[in-house]
């Protein structure tokens, strides 16, 4: 379930005018920006962008970029974009980091539905004049490249049917590979990057039944895991239990506050309209403190107020 709250009355023109007012004069009325944008869904935000363009002949996104700054600006910028465009931007940012932030690409290709992933790929081509696959391929190498390119290229079958015999045999294949530490085997990559999600979840369930240990626990053994192992682990988590996965990313992200807020912003902005409520529930279960409180404790200012708005704080 989403955490975003939207008002019963909505007028794109009124919002556009209110935003204009917030930009006027010395400085910016950030509270007004949060009060409006922090409580609008994707359709409404798009209408606000259009209304602003029509009335003021200006791109409100560019205006926001110049009026706001820091983590607050980054968050609002990502928030106001169309979801597919936003994910394209996030993917590009992740690719161009000095060490590719592969978990972002894995989230994209494994949590989104096949049609949503397609929309992101189209948005990416539109924005960057290159394909997502091309950029992922040329910024990665070796096993990680094999895995990531296959993941972003996939157009998985989205049916619910399961072949139990296949789940059995492929659970065995995965188990053998993990036992032999042959994580990068072609078979592992084939199974994880081409099978439908329903089929994969049946396979993971079968794995746990047969071997008494979940595949993810089995994967990260005692010794330090390689990047590739971590990527496989993330892939499986994103397919089998995205809420738990995101709760963990948030927990780690909050610990890193002061150094890197990208993960915190990304998860909250991308999931607020989807399943942030479910993620919050798991977060609370695992950490005995609500996500809202954890966020409120660690960050401050407009950035904090904006994130809390998206987290469902009543205005």
């Amino acid at each position: 379930m989403a955490t975003l709250i939207t008002p019963s009355h909505f007028s794109a023109i009124e919002d556009a005018e209110a935003l204009q007012k917030a930009f006027k004069g010395w400085g910016t009325d950030e509270k007004a920006v949060i009060r409006i944008l922090g409580y609008r869904n994707a359709v409404q935000r798009k209408q606000i962008r259009e209304a602003y363009e029509n009335v003021f002949q200006e791109d409100v996104v560019k205006r926001l970029e110049s009026e706001l700054s820091g983590d607050f600006e980054k968050a609002v910028y990502r928030w106001i974009l169309d979801p597919a465009d936003r994910d394209a931007v996030l993917a590009n940012v992740a690719i161009r980091k000095s060490e590719c932030d592969f978990k972002v690409l894995i989230e994209l290709s494994c949590v989104l539905s096949p049609e949503e992933l397609l929309a992101v790929k189209r948005a990416y081509q539109n924005r960057y004049k290159r394909s997502l696959e091309e950029d992922v391929a040329s910024h990665t190498a070796g096993d990680l490249r094999k895995l990531l390119v296959a993941l972003v290229s996939a157009y998985r079958y989205n049916g619910e049917e399961i072949n139990a015999r296949l789940a059995n045999s492929e659970a065995d294949i995965l188990h053998e590979a993990i036992k032999d530490k042959a994580y990068n085997s072609d078979e592992v990559i084939r199974i994880l990057t081409t099978r439908s999600k329903a089929q994969l979840n049946a396979t993971f369930n079968r794995y746990r039944e047969d071997h008494k240990l979940s595949i993810t626990k089995n994967l990260l053994g005692e010794s330090a895991a390689s990047d590739f192992q971590k990527a496989l682990h993330t892939t499986i988590r994103c397919i089998s239990d995205p809420h738990k996965y995101y709760a963990k990313v948030l927990r780690d992200g909050i610990k890193r506050i002061g150094t890197d807020e990208d993960d915190l912003t990304r998860v909250i902005v991308t999931r607020a309209e989807k399943d942030l409520k479910d993620i919050k529930d798991i977060y609370y279960k695992k950490n005995s403190v609500s996500l809202d409180d954890a966020v409120a404790k660690e960050i401050s200012g407009d950035y904090k107020a904006f994130l809390l708005a998206l987290l469902g704080k009543q205005d």
Partner: protein, 312 residues
């Protein structure tokens, strides 16, 4: 026409591709028993005389031949009326099932269709076969071509008109040059370039390769024919298709090679048929339509000629 001419015409009526139905109709109207006997004697292949001098029919062979030749028209009609996405999905499935000799069809589909057409074929694959094409391909294609073919059918290339970067193309050309000649098919860089780059970029890579190496890219990839076919389909599909058509129209061509005639003409009739016709003329010094007139028969021939004419 004399009887002899008629017998010859009838024999010819199904020694090409398809059946000259009109000749058979004429036979039904005119010929008396002795004339039919002359026909049987003139075709010892289907009517071998046994030790009692009886012209028995090799029924299995005769029927099989007639079926095969009558079927060509049916097949081309079916192919023609299918939605292009379904057509491509079904051809891809068949190619995966038929193994290495059919993999060129996968290359054709993955490389000569537009990004949206290939995507459409992948959607159709979901509907028809309850699985994704990459799922099927990665499981059932064994051997060294697997990596390349799975990557090719999964491609969603950029097709916009932004400027091609010459230095990036040079880099890619070099990467191909430096690949291990004994392991071309499994070279990560070759797969990356051929399966993810836009077609315009690959054209530029081809150009840079030629500038820096005095040999063309497809010449240097001759050790791996499927890589050659990939480059040809991406860079100059009309040359590739003209060659395939020529092979399929040769006398005594293998049945598998003959099937390419339907496939190529139907799938390219509304695409680049004009370019293929021009290339065919340049390379083989005969018009494609002429070659078809001499080799194909009956309604099948007429249908093919109509499709080819769409390219004019």
């Amino acid at each position: 026409m004399t009887l002899n001419d008629e017998i010859q015409a009838l024999t010819k009526a199904f020694t090409g591709l398809g059946v000259d139905e009109i000749s058979f109709v004429t036979m039904g109207r005119k010929w008396k028993p002795e004339e039919r006997q002359s026909f049987r004697k003139a075709n010892p292949d289907f009517f071998p005389e046994d030790e009692r001098h009886f012209e028995r029919c090799d029924l299995e062979k005769y029927i099989k031949r007639l079926e095969q030749e009558f079927m060509r028209f049916k097949e081309v009609i079916v192919l023609w009326t299918l939605h292009p996405w379904e057509r491509d999905a079904r051809m891809a499935k068949e190619a995966i099932e038929n193994g290495p000799e059919a993999y060129a069809v996968l290359v054709e589909i993955a490389c000569s269709r537009s990004s949206e057409e290939l995507l459409g074929a992948r959607k159709a694959y979901h509907s028809l076969f309850d699985q994704s094409i990459e799922e099927d391909a990665s499981l059932n294609i064994e051997g060294p071509e697997r990596k390349l073919l799975v990557a090719l059918v999964s491609a969603y290339r950029y097709e916009g008109s932004s400027m091609v970067k010459e230095d990036e193309a040079k880099y890619d050309a070099n990467a191909i040059k430096n690949a291990d000649k004994n392991k071309l098919l499994e070279d990560d860089e070759i797969v990356r370039i051929l399966a993810t780059r836009s077609k315009r970029h690959i054209h530029e890579v081809y150009k840079q390769y030629k500038l820096n190496n005095n040999k063309t890219l497809d010449e240097d990839l001759a050790a791996a024919p499927i890589l050659q076919e990939t480059v040809q389909c991406l860079c100059s599909p009309e040359k590739y298709y003209a060659k395939v058509l020529n092979e399929s129209l040769k006398d005594g061509a293998d049945e598998k090679i003959r099937k390419a005639l339907n496939r190529v003409i139907v799938t390219r009739a509304d695409a680049d048929m004009k370019n293929i016709i021009d290339e065919f003329q340049t390379k083989y010094r005969v018009a494609l339509s002429e070659k078809i007139k001499n080799t194909a028969r009956g309604s099948y021939k007429d249908f093919l000629l109509n499709l080819v004419a769409r390219g004019n």
